[in-house]
């Protein structure tokens, strides 16, 4: 097989090098990747800090949601108790589910990824450190404001899935539901930002030689996880947008009296909601695979099978969303398909479990705290999986639906599949970030309290569910045999809580955050995160020759630390990392990385202000926050893509690579494509909504505007693509270092103006055809698609003007420029998106 990029693999034999490294090289690295002081902690973008902040915040939300759970259990200790009034109880269960799913589970696994991945891949940092910082601050500020709604009695109370019509303005007239819709929509944007970072990081910043076949299982899991986020989360962003528009402007997406349908919400929500379970589980499974191998002190059995299982789970999990809707009266055949898929998804999950069991069986287990959590996790997750297969059967689901049986099932799955692996990971990887390990003795108590507490809490719930006790009801009647079982569950919840409190005590006693004096490889892990590291990650970036490099090459730690591999110092005097090819991880170019900045923090705070002000209908404040927030984003981007004198760099052993390239080989190109996938999914789900509502209520559909007009709009959009393409051509025809003139950016602006003209024509056409967004489901869906297109066009216009400003400041490098490349591709994508919307909504035979 040939090299992927033309890189000569025999050059890897030059490493480890044997020359003495120059004096002061390490000190320069330390200076460039220096530690923040005082207020600088707020401007840090390095993954060691952002990852730690992220994990601490996610754990805080875990504690807060846990306190809510204890409150609910106290209320349910005996029948007809009045400790929590009904309204408060509704807010508690809604916030418990929402916080656990949106503010704890997904951010926690993303956070662990941010902290571990760069070191695991031996990259200096993730490829967009400021994006990571923005994602974190947006999540922190948005999450805290969202949670604070509980203290003023304005917390959402419609369940974590917020089904309309219960959450429509008629039945939920307060702003409680708006907090959920805008808050969650905003926080999901942060999750998507993190996912883009992870996809590009895993595919493009791996250490040389780390082929896909040698990637740590956690990196594989995070790659599948991030890809699933990119596909699934746009659906929940769209659905929250639709419901908010219905509540704010009376656009009837979910109102069946005007051609909407509440089932549309359920499809959109669960298309996200069920994959979400696997989005949470897969990274934890990746952690499990790595810990199982370390615990058993043997390589993972069935590495490739495990990868196949991860990928297959990612796919099949998108075919199970409607198993949450078996009781809604779907066609019988449809329920059969979803039932079959629900059982099929257990196949790849089963493969993983058997790989873990085989690894444990083939090795020699050291019964440490992580080992206990790992084995406990396999047991608990399997129990939850088995009841999952039960509720995957339609007749059984009809009986158990909305009872405590489901509560028991989902807690077994989520605690076994995510919470136990998380605690195992805390104990396992604490040596990377703390100067002292956590206590093994206390850790075992933490495990047993949680393990016993889990069963005492949730095992009885299977029975209360069978006995007909419904979920989400604040009390129950006496004399139905439910009292004792509920009392047992409450005791169990407090036993679990005691386990968590003990963990906090252990943290307080032993955890001491550090970036350079860590406790190290306590359990003997085999992968690169256990190399000696500083804020710059590893001193030099090793050549990876196996899946377990630390076990297979005992000298690697010393060689890396002595700078005998790639990039032992800084070539440009700036923060930098090596970008490698996606499959074979061959060195391609040197990426310059941005340093600390206050702008991601400012942008995040103002974005949160924008959404929160919308919630309380302070539109002027919201608009001002939005504009200043946008300015902050542009300011942070301003410092990137600067012209530099040097165009090639020696990255070690005389191997030279280019610095910061454009085009399909660049990491920015991959990130932009990922963003296009997100935007495309939003449009795709919107078009699905359009077709779905037509299928349900064709009687309210009106005829589309004339075909000639549609062709005219399409032509304008094609012209926008031509203008964008011309812009790049003009720049490419200019010689290196010469000024390209005003042509490139003016053509970009022309492209954006054509996009705007097409959108205006589209709106005017529908308006003159008599389509009213508040009158019918057709009007609502058509206008929301046009509104999304308008939003995209506005961004394209801002980007084009920004390009012009950079050109005026002499920052438009020739013959290629990253900023111009991004702007023209964005304009081209927006035109294609507009074409899809215009053609489908106007030419679809139903119109």
């Amino acid at each position: 097989m040939k090299s992927e990029t033309g890189f000569d693999h025999s050059l890897y034999a030059l490493f480890p090098t044997h020359h003495k490294r120059p004096e002061g090289e390490r000190e320069e690295l330390e200076r460039i990747w220096c530690k923040p002081r005082g207020w600088e902690y707020l401007t840090a973008v390095n993954n060691n800090y952002i990852g730690f902040y992220y994990i601490a915040t996610a754990f805080l939300f875990f504690l807060l949601a846990g306190v809510l759970a204890l409150g609910m259990r106290v209320q349910l200790t005996a029948p007809l108790l009045q400790i929590l009034p009904q309204e408060t109880y509704n807010q508690f269960f809604t916030m418990h589910g929402t916080v656990m799913m949106f503010l704890f589970a997904v951010p926690m696994v993303e956070a662990i990824g941010v902290l571990l991945l760069p070191q695991m891949l031996a990259a200096r940092d993730l490829p967009f450190p400021r994006l990571s910082a923005y994602a974190f601050w947006a999540y922190l500020v948005g999450g805290l404001c969202f949670f604070a709604s509980l203290f003023v009695g304005l917390a959402p109370d419609g369940g974590w899935f917020m089904y309309p019509p219960l959450t429509s303005i008629a039945y939920s007239p307060g702003i409680n539901a708006d907090f959920w819709l805008l808050g969650i929509g905003f926080i999901e944007i942060s999750a998507i930002a993190g996912a883009i970072e992870i996809i590009v990081g895993v595919l493009r910043t791996r250490a040389p030689g780390m082929t896909l076949d040698r990637m740590p299982m956690f990196a594989w899991a995070m790659l599948v996880f991030a890809a699933m986020i990119i596909i699934a989360f746009p659906s929940v962003i769209l659905s929250t947008l639709l419901l908010e528009l219905e509540r704010a402007f009376n656009w009837p997406f979910f109102d069946p009296t005007r051609g909407g349908d509440p089932m549309l919400w359920q499809h959109l929500f669960w298309f996200f909601g069920h994959p979400e379970v696997y989005i949470i589980f897969l990274p934890a499974a990746g952690l499990m695979s790595m810990m199982v191998s370390t615990v058993a002190r043997t390589p993972l059995v069935g590495y490739r099978l495990n990868v196949l299982a991860l990928v297959a789970t990612g796919f099949i999990s998108f075919g199970v969303w409607a198993h949450h809707m078996f009781a809604t009266g779907m066609p019988r055949l449809s329920t059969g398909y979803f039932s079959a898929a629900s059982m099929a998804v257990s196949l790849p999950a089963g493969i993983q479990v058997f790989c873990w069991i085989a690894t444990l069986a083939s090795g020699k287990i050291r019964w440490s705290t992580p080992a206990l959590f790992v084995v406990g996790s396999v047991l608990v997750f399997t129990m939850g999986g088995l009841t999952g297969v039960m509720v995957g059967m339609v007749p059984f689901d009809w009986q158990a639906h909305d009872t405590y049986f489901i509560v028991a099932h989902l807690h077994y799955v989520l605690i076994g599949g995510m919470v136990f692996p998380m605690f195992a990971a805390f104990y396992h990887w604490v040596g990377m970030t703390s100067s002292r390990p956590l206590s093994e003795r206390v850790g075992k108590w933490v495990f047993w309290l949680q393990f016993v507490g889990l069963h005492v809490t949730f095992l009885p719930m299977h029975l209360t569910g069978f006995m007909g006790m419904p979920r989400r009801v604040y009390t129950y009647m006496p004399g139905r045999g439910l009292d004792l079982l509920n009392q047992i569950s409450t005791v169990g919840a407090f036993i679990m809580g005691a386990g968590v409190v003990l963990f906090l005590i252990d943290l307080a006693r032993n955890f001491r955050f550090t970036t350079n004096d860590d406790a190290g490889n306590i359990y003997g892990g085999s992968t690169l995160e256990w190399l000696p590291t500083g804020l710059y990650s590893t001193r030099s970036i090793p050549v990876v020759r196996s899946r377990d490099p630390l076990w297979d090459d005992p000298k690697i730690c010393d060689d890396v630390e002595q700078g005998r591999y790639f990039l032992p110092g800084s070539v440009t005097g700036l923060r930098e990392t090596i970008v490698t090819s996606p499959i074979n991880a061959e060195p391609q170019y040197l990426q310059l990385m941005p340093g600390p900045s206050v702008w991601p923090l400012a942008a995040a705070v103002l974005t949160a202000g924008f959404f929160l002000a919308l919630t309380v209908q302070a539109y002027m404040f919201s608009a001002v926050s939005g504009v200043i927030g946008l300015a902050c984003v542009l300011r942070w981007l301003w410092e990137t893509d600067r012209p530099i004198q040097q165009d090639k760099a020696d990255i070690g052993a005389g191997i030279t690579v280019p610095i910061s390239i454009t085009g399909p080989q660049s990491h920015g190109w991959w990130a932009l494509n990922t963003l296009f996938t997100v935007m495309g999914m939003i449009v795709l789900m919107g078009l699905f909504g359009y077709l779905y509502l037509y299928g349900i209520h064709p009687e309210v559909w009106i005829a589309a505007p004339p075909v000639l007009q549609t062709l005219g709009i399409s032509l304008v959009l094609v012209l926008a693509i031509v203008a964008a393409w011309m812009s790049r051509r003009v720049l490419a025809m200019t010689k290196r270092g010469e000024f390209a003139g005003q042509g490139p950016w003016l053509l970009g602006v022309l492209g954006a103006m054509l996009l705007g003209a097409a959108s205006w024509w589209d709106v005017a056409g529908w308006d003159s055809a008599g389509l009213d967004p508040a009158a019918s489901g057709q009007g609502a869906t058509v206008f929301v698609l046009i509104a999304f297109q308008g939003f995209t066009v506005a961004i394209a216009a801002i980007m084009a003007v920004y390009l012009g400003y950079r050109s005026g400041k002499g920052l438009l490098t020739t013959p290629t420029n990253v900023t111009l490349d991004i702007v023209v591709r964005f304009i081209g994508y927006t035109a294609l998106q507009g074409l899809a919307i215009v053609l489908l909504t106007r030419l679809y035979p139903g119109a």
Binding site: V307, L308, A312, G336, Y337, A341, M343
Partner: protein, 93 residues
């Protein structure tokens, strides 16, 4: 694996096969939603299943998969099982 710097993990075949599964699943669901409780939906399911299995066979030939005891072979097998299993309700339900 030592000193081999070419990727040996062949995931293209499983990804293509699972994409066929995804398309098959969505088509079956669309047919059952557009023609609820009608026999036509069942016939369409049978037709889509046949097409999907032929597509898997095509992928197998194109990627020269000769054994099920490999990641490409297992990916194809897993997808084939999932496709047939998903279609079962249309045939016997």
């Amino acid at each position: 694996m030592p000193n081999d710097y070419n990727n040996r993990l062949k995931l293209l075949t499983p990804i293509l096969a699972l994409t066929v599964w995804a398309a098959h699943f969505l088509l079956l669901w669309c047919a059952s939603s557009i023609f609820p409780e009608q026999v036509l939906a069942r016939w369409l399911a049978a037709a889509f299943t046949l097409i999907a299995l032929v597509a898997l066979y095509g992928i197998m030939r194109w990627q020269a998969v000769t054994t099920v005891f490999s990641i490409p072979g297992l990916g194809l097998a897993l997808s084939a099982v999932a496709i047939v299993f998903t279609a079962m309700p249309a045939l016997i339900g």
